[in-house]
Symmetry: C2
Subunit: 301 residues, 2 copies
């Protein structure tokens, strides 16, 4: 039996999965991210038996970033300028590929999550552009355009959008070390923790934090809609799991667009336009498996 | 001899061109946009002799918008919700195609301009994503991603990005009828005219208008860089023609990114990263000709 492997390499935890899709999971392992040496060794140990038995035909890696996706670059497949201690300039792709000796596809965690949600969920398969945004420790955006994940100078970094910041309503200066009050600086989980002096998940429903957060998420979505004109947006990560937040965000998106986009998806069907991930916390790792399955078509190896 | 036709359908003027590229122009006509009936009749009269002689094999239309680019839609090729009197819901594509009876490719003026600059200029041909932004009467963005123009729910509307607006520095409320102080509301030619009480082109170099304008253009470019990670940005339209503006914009883009994008294009070679159009005022119409030449490959007909 042919099997595929997926790795979601996160700054906090790694997920390794062997299988052939959401309904054909063979084995999964989740563990905290430690040093590159230790973490990569665990990854290799997990997949090695499948490779040695000749079952595992290809691997996909969905990595935290920034990463180098330029296949002509000497540092292709590296995690580049991350602030995460020890992980700066780590050859994640190369070290896994050399140790396991199978074809490996490599992309950002968020491009993989977008691809996973699009590839495995039947209703999403013809929706292009297709967008995934995650809001948690950081804010990340992945997008499939014209059949492929968007790569360029690097990759999408829309989590760092410059957005309106009303200092009278929200005098907080933001937490982004590069930009202060960019989107991630104002709306990530850590920005909520710092602004309100408590963890986001402990803030009660009636706390003004949630209306402000919905406002920033809506501004981000409006800019993403204007940029990509996506046919569907999946909104994942820990922060949007707050009960009722999706509903407020959708209403604010409509208010901000104010009739400019004359599409029934925005005007009438926004509940099926902006959605939580269907694959739950496995969008990224199942996207990595899909990338492994498509490795030749995408020439992502 | 095989010839191709290009039409740049603007809200102010139309450009019609017959030829095979920037160095093989056969005939060009420019005239003011009046009513749809009169304007479309002039277009048809211009191209008809070439069609009748069997020379013109295909046409491309680069249209002002918003337009319907969904080929499954009953209003494919229509100009949709424009505020331009008389042009609401005009079947520009269908009326030209039926009258001339040749294959016709249809896209936004800015997608066509991006495609034209990429297709005809040798140094741009492998640069993907490739971006074109115009700042004049309105602000428009076109982008080629993974080999094709970006289409989606509609098309890119990044001219309406929500961007930071420092009300202390700039108390002007903006001119966008939908959003007030979105990018187009704050930085289009008409917004400059209204804010300063005189036409942008009459504002002297030392006027603070230009530094503020450069700031807004830089914020727009930063968001476009984060969204698309383009390999090159062409900045066209009337406003960026102001002497010295490009230089200030590039410096501000670097300051706003603040080292976050570790790419030599941004850090060192920004003069060849953000550029004026090589095709001058013909980016759109020559893009339309390129679209006509690629009509089968793109299935844009």
């Amino acid at each position: 039996m042919k099997l595929y492997g997926g790795i979601e390499a996160g700054g906090t935890k790694f997920i390794c999965l062997v299988g052939n899709g959401p309904d054909q999971l063979v084995e999964e392992m989740r563990f905290p991210t430690t040093t590159p040496d230790e973490t990569i060794a665990r990854v290799v140990d997990f997949f090695a038996p499948y490779v040695n038995r000749g079952e595992l035909v290809a691997l996909g890696i969905a990595s935290f970033g920034p990463v180098d996706l330029n296949q002509d670059s000497k540092t292709y497949g590296y995690i580049t300028t991350t602030p995460k201690p020890g992980w700066n300039q780590v050859d994640l792709y190369g070290r896994i590929k050399r140790n396991l000796n199978v074809p490996v596809s490599f992309d950002t965690d968020v491009n993989a999550a977008a691809f996973g949600e699009q590839y495995w969920i039947q209703e999403n398969q013809n929706l292009d552009p297709f967008l995934y945004m995650t809001i948690g420790t950081g804010i990340g955006v992945g997008v499939i355009v014209n059949g492929l994940p968007l790569h360029g100078l690097i990759h999408t970094e829309a989590g760092h959008f410059a957005i309106p910041h009303n200092l009278q309503r929200d005098p907080f200066q933001g937490v982004c070390p590069y930009h202060g009050d960019c989107l991630e600086g104002l709306a990530s989980g850590p920005s909520m923790n710092k602004r309100w002096g408590q963890k986001a998940e402990t803030l009660p429903d009636a706390h003004p934090a949630w209306d402000l957060e919905a406002e920033y998420i809506a501004l981000a979505l409006v800019n993403l809609i204007y940029a990509y004109s996506p046919l569907r947006i999946v909104l994942g990560g820990g922060v949007p799991e707050h009960p009722g937040l999706h509903v407020v965000v959708r209403r604010k998106v409509q208010q901000l667009i104010n009739g400019y986009i004359q599409s029934s998806m925005v005007l009438e069907s926004i509940d099926s336009y902006i959605l939580p991930p269907t694959l739950g916390t496995r969008s990224g790792v199942l996207g990595a498996i899909a990338m492994a399955m498509k490795i030749e078509e995408f020439s992502l190896e």
